[in-house]
Amino acid sequence: MGTIVELRPRAREDFTQSLGMMIGLASWTMMFGALFFMYFGMRANAPMWPPAGTPRLPVALPAVNTAVLAASSLALWRGVSQLAKGRRGALAPWVGVAMVLGIAFVTLQVMGWRTQLAAGLLPSSGAYGSVFYGLTALHAVHVAAGLLVLLVVLVRSLLGTYTEHNVIRVRVAAMFWHFVDAVWLLMFVSIYLF
């Protein structure tokens, strides 16, 4: 029957919540994993990448964007740890900072797409364009979803819903945000750098 670990009721409740989120993120990992599988499969069969005649994607803008998203994650992490220490007022400003950085990311991302469209790289221009627009757009949709979640967190933290006792509710939202950021890092490395 295994060892029975007795936890305080709150800790048990918290563990159930984060277990649910972890399993959900495992599922998301498989979804993005499949996208990367498809992308690497495509590249493995391509004689050269980017295909002949297609210029490489610029690296500067997405590099800045990576830093923006990392800073956003850091801000959210800071807010959650402040809340866990009992500084309830500190959460809302940090969530606000994380959201502003997230919105900045999406804006820069749209700018990047527009530059490429203007330069003649279209979603229909073949595998390269498909991967660039398709994968980054699917990621951007997740960032947008994450921003909506953060908006709910922001409103609730302003209403004073969160305390150091129910910090888990912010923590699971933060887990999703960090996950989306980590996926971006992989996309930046594999789509732009290599």
């Binding site: 029957m1 498989m30 495509m42 004689p47 229909s124």
Partner: protein
């Protein structure tokens, strides 16, 4: 786990529509699934009609209604839509909601002693996401240029705008994606509930095997449905936004995508999927055979081990669906070995079933009959699969009706017989009334005999070289002699369809006018029957029980002597006299007098 008792809603909307009660959500899945089962079954009849009478003969009764422009005759494009929608609907909108959505939701909290799922609200979203996907299916039927017609596998280039223009295929890609989200939400709930909400004393090895099946299925769902989701999403991007992930004819030299990648993604999901559909069936059958043979399930741990082994192996065999795609021979050999390895745990499970019923006091009630029928058709389906897992024979059988017969025996016939076993078994718990036994037995014999004849006929046709999905198979001269075989297979299929009317009648009649069920009509040992009312109260258990033994305590002579019955439930303590009885009964001299 501290489980709160939520107040029961009194408003109709919150009680029956946007409900968070796992028992009502289970019924929502059940009714939606049964409706789609009827749709999928009707489509199957139209396919069989086409093979019995290719070219021209109008489909009787429903033909004029569904295909008005041709006066009821099936045209080639309509035929392509019919078999595509039949496959997709049966898998994602009939078996999945009935076996996993309905019975997973219903049994998991009740059998492990929980008051509800871990995340009741997520459970509600899961059903309504499924409902959204159902709307996409209906939209696909109503769209111009017809419903999806790229085959249930949705392979590009058939499924791209080039192969199937119009919105029908696009709606189905979106439908697959949204039903996938629904399945994942359900899966998260099942996994967490089993890990966190088992009643005190119920270790993993005290769980009913039904729960093991549901749990392993949920794990596979959560890990592999998102891969299908990705594939469907990329296909939708190709169709809607002109990307070139899978567009054929655009080789890498012209910077295009690769349709083969879809096949990889599809089968990385697709092979686990067939076990997703059979693992709950295995679990249910493991339990029911024990319950109705009045014997403990033979080698419980062995069955658990076998199911876990199959779950793990199912993730690494997908290549056997792609033997004919120019795969490297060494890679094919690897997939072949892994595929055939799956038969080891599968046979172990099968032998456990036979040993469970061996010399049991079998009660041949309807749920038991369906469970035995499942063992039979699954055995036939499993054996015919060996020829497809072996490359040298698969070369000849690939894409023939033999494949169709094989996978229908395993994931259609076996899954549905197990679903019906579960439905007859848990019907009293769901609706508080018994189903009619005589009608049930008629339903069983009709189903199992005609299922065997229909899919046996398909195996024979395929073995003789008839390819699957042909609009008119007999335009190939070498199979014109199979006309009679096909026609008779169709007759058996029609008989199978009409046998189901006894079930429909029995189901609705019993809901309203069936015999009132007692709390434990089958005299079984699990918490769902022994520690909650029939039908259960809103919060399932007034007091969450403490489990003291496994789920299959039957035919224990000591229990029989003290309690005058052949079972003792998972919670009940042995009467005080029991311990004394053992001491008195087992005299040291008697034991030592070898």
């Amino acid at each position: 786990m501290e489980q709160h008792i939520h107040p029961e809603p009194t408003n109709f909307i919150w009680k029956y529509v946007f409900t968070i009660d796992h028992k009502v959500i289970a019924k929502q899945f059940l009714f939606t699934g049964l409706t789609f089962l009827l749709v999928g079954g009707t489509l199957a009849m139209m396919i069989r009609w086409q093979w019995a009478f290719p070219w021209g003969a109008p489909v009787p009764v429903i033909g004029k209604l569904l295909l008005p422009t041709t006066g009821g005759a099936i045209t080639p494009p309509a035929y392509a839509s019919i078999f595509t929608m039949h496959g997709l609907i049966m898998i994602f909108w009939a078996i999945t909601p009935i076996l996993i959505g309905a019975f997973g939701n219903f049994t998991i909290p009740l059998m492990i002693g929980a008051r509800d799922m871990a995340f009741p609200r997520l459970n509600m979203y899961s059903y309504w996401m499924f409902f959204v996907s159902s709307v996409f299916v209906v939209l696909s039927f109503t769209s111009q240029l017809g419903a999806a017609s790229g085959g249930w596998t949705t392979y590009p280039p058939l499924s791209t705008n080039v192969g199937s223009p119009g919105w029908g295929q696009t709606y189905m890609a979106l439908a697959i994606f949204s039903t996938g989200i629904s399945t994942i939400m359900g899966g998260i709930n099942y996994i967490v509930t089993v890990i966190r909400f088992r009643a005190p004393g119920m270790g993993y090895m005290q769980m009913p095997l039904t729960i093991w099946g549901m749990w392993l299925t949920a794990i596979l769902n959560v890990l592999f449905v998102p891969v299908l989701g990705s594939a469907a999403l990329l296909l939708a991007l190709d169709r809607l936004f002109g990307t070139r992930f899978f567009v054929a004819g655009a080789a890498v030299g012209t910077h295009g995508g690769d349709p083969m990648l879809f096949q990889h993604l599809f089968w990385i999901f697709g092979h686990p999927e067939v076990y997703i559909l059979i693992l709950p069936a295995w679990g249910i059958v493991c339990d029911l055979l024990s319950f109705f043979a009045r014997k403990p399930a033979f080698w419980y741990r062995g069955s658990v081990f076998a199911m876990v082994a199959v779950t793990v192996l199912s993730a690494v065999v997908y290549g056997h669906h792609m033997y004919q795609t120019g795969m490297a021979p060494l890679l094919g050999l690897g997939f072949e070995i892994l595929t055939l390895t799956i038969s080891v745990p599968a046979v172990l499970l099968f032998v456990n079933w036979l040993n469970t019923i061996w010399k049991g006091s079998i009660r041949l009630q309807t749920p038991m009959l369906f469970a035995l029928g499942m063992v039979f058709v699954f055995g036939a389906g499993g054996l015919t699969g060996l020829l497809l897992g072996t490359i040298s024979t698969d070369i000849y059988l690939h894409d023939t009706m033999y494949v169709v017969g094989h996978f229908h025996l395993t994931m259609a016939a076996a899954s549905f017989l197990a679903s019906f076993a579960a439905l007859y078994f848990w019907f009293p718990k769901m609706f508080g009334r018994m189903m009619n036994e005589t009608l049930g037995k008629f339903h069983f014999w009709g189903s199992v005999i005609f299922i065997t004849l229909v899919f046996g006929g398909q195996l024979l046709a395929g073995y003789s070289g008839q390819h699957r999905r042909l609009f008119d198979p007999f335009q190939y001269e070498y199979i014109t002699h199979l006309k009679l075989l096909n026609r008779w297979t169709s007759y058996f299929a029609f008989a199978l369809f009409f046998t189901q009317t006894t079930f429909v009648f029995n189901f609705f009649f019993s809901i309203f006018a069936g015999k009132k069920a007692t709390d434990n009509p089958w005299e079984v040992t699990t918490l769902d029957w022994t520690h909650t009312a029939t039908p259960p109260v809103y919060h399932n258990f007034d007091v969450v029980p403490t489990v003291v033994r496994g789920p299959h305590e039957y035919a224990n002579p000591e229990v029989k002597r003290l309690l005058k019955r052949d079972w003792i439930d998972q919670v009940e303590a042995m009467p005080e006299a029991a311990s004394a009885g053992i001491v008195v009964g087992a005299e040291p001299e008697a034991l030592g007098a070898e």
